[in-house]
Amino acid sequence: MNGNEGRLIVLDAGSGMRALGANVEAAEQVDVLITHLHMDHIQGLPFFAPLHNPDIRVDVWGPISTTQTLSERLNRYLSPPLFPLRVRDLSNVVFHDVPPGTFELDGIQVTADLVSHPGPTLGYRLEESGKVLTYLPDHEPALGMHNFPKNPEWTSGYGLASGADLLIHDSQYTDEEYSERIGWGHSSYTHLLAFAAMTGCRTLMTFHHDPDHSDQTLDEAHERLRATSQGFEIVAGTHGAVIDI
């Protein structure tokens, strides 16, 4: 995400980090907002070029823990034998443990809150000039709910996503797949649509597709999603997609 002040905010650090890193030479400040430390959300971090460029300051933000700091937890991965460098070798990188709450990055208001997913997992709401982007890549809002989606006050993620201009949300499973993966921390298509409708978002970007779903499967699924959704636009999350909020 590029804010009005030119600050680059990166949401999670997956495999796309390497390609992104090649295009941020001019940036003086990069913020990486990590939702949780599952490997698919941090695996690209050590290959992000700005981490190794002392002229670029990188702030990495991630969920708080009761036992170790974010830096200590990431150091399990960013250290030998898994990686040749250690966290302490990255002099231009600052790590921040993020409790639920709000902080500001150059006029961009960032609200973090824990959401329903195995292990402490944050979702993020970014607001600037009245525009709202909400990022909930791994989210199972219907887990154990008898009356989903009838009660926003008791629905995980609602506070972050309410009224978002762009909601980027977990869309991993078909309904059939979800029935065999309840509690794995992801959404079915039906739950995704119901959650998006509850929030009153303007645009829903589907994200965190199941890696076993082919392009054809996803195209067909999105046709069905668009046919049944009401009140918001659906954009399929794809590599390199650009959206102007």
């Binding site: 708080i64 409790p99 639920p100 809150d113 887990l143 154990g144 926003p152 629905t155 506070g159 309410s162």
Partner: protein, 132 residues
């Protein structure tokens, strides 16, 4: 939080409670009663949907509570109040009159709920009916 939503820890706790046969009662960080489960409804003498949520102000006196021997029990000695104000677990045997008019004797255990980041979220209490 820009829009009203319970903390996810309390959401998940409520979902768990709704599946259990153990009577459970939940209060938020300011002492408002935000949920009790179906098993608790039998003890409290009224369905949650018919009475709750209840603000902390209205909660005082909603149920008549005494010590097990029938003597007065000051409000500040209620286990849920102790867990709320001192943020420590509390346990006590009490008698109370349900909203169905029936007096019951129960053991109450109240636990403060603390989330990561030293966030006090509220109180969870369980009830166990005992021989009066």
């Amino acid at each position: 939080m820009p829009h009203q939503q319970q903390p996810v820890e309390m959401i998940l706790l409520r979902q768990l409670a709704s599946y259990l046969a153990i009577p459970m009662w939940m209060m938020d960080d300011t002492g408002n009663l935000i949920y009790y489960n179906e098993a608790a409804e039998g003890l409290l003498g009224i369905r949650f949907d018919d009475v709750g949520p209840i603000t902390s102000e209205n909660l005082v006196g909603a149920w008549h509570v005494t010590q097990l021997d029938g003597s007065d029990l000051p409000e500040y000695d209620f286990p849920v109040v102790t867990a709320l104000s001192k943020r420590k677990p509390a346990h006590q045997a009490i008698r109370f009159q349900g909203m169905d008019g029936v007096w019951r004797a129960v053991e109450v255990t109240a636990l403060p709920i603390e989330g990561q980041g030293e966030r006090f979220l509220g109180v969870l209490a369980t009830f166990w009916e005992v021989e009066d």
